[in-house]
Amino acid sequence: MKITILKSDHDKMYEHALSVAPDEACGLLAGIDREDGIREIKKVYILENIDHTNEHFSIDPKEQLKTVKQIRAEGLVPLGNWHSHPESPSRPSEEDKRLANDSKASYLILSLAEKGNPVLNAFHIEGEQGSRSVRKEELSII
């Protein structure tokens, strides 16, 4: 799947991720799935990482639900989530794969490992626990 994200939303994620580093940052993605097959991320939401560590992130289900309601009220649909890897590459960890239970979601990972050079990638994750497959999606920052 081809995915687009606004440069302003990329920068918003990056600035927030830097501000909370070394903790991981996280949030939700909203937008539309266009008829031509392109997934258009129109808005990025910043949510609290209730773990407050550099090794994990968890989103409070109550905040998640509140944000999903907000997304629907804005005429968009939830498209997945994003989180930062302050010290590691932009690829799903084993824990990321284990907790990726929604194959319709896009999983964006923003690596801060290289100072001044954020790396954002999008992934599709599917399959049974223990044998999940990961596919890197085509992501355009526009």
Binding site: F57, K62, V68, S93, D96, L99, N101
Partner: protein, 68 residues
């Protein structure tokens, strides 16, 4: 009766419970899904006994987390 599921209003049979709704909606990895009805989370152990009513708003959510 009309229920809103994931933002979409649809007609469902009267007396449908949450477990049946999950089946009908082909919810993926249902063992990991969290269900909210009218912005209240319900216990997974009550999916069979929780009967939905006209006008309910249902969301299926997955825990979101990960690690480096």
């Amino acid at each position: 009766m009309i229920i809103t599921v994931a933002g979409n209003k649809k007609e469902y049979e009267d007396g449908i419970n949450v477990a049946t709704l999950i089946e009908q909606e082909n919810v993926e990895t249902p063992q990991y899904v969290t269900v909210s009805i009218n912005e209240e989370f319900i216990e997974s152990g009550s999916f069979d006994s929780h009967v939905l009513k006209e006008g309910d708003e249902v969301e299926f959510l997955y825990f979101m987390g990960g690690g480096k």
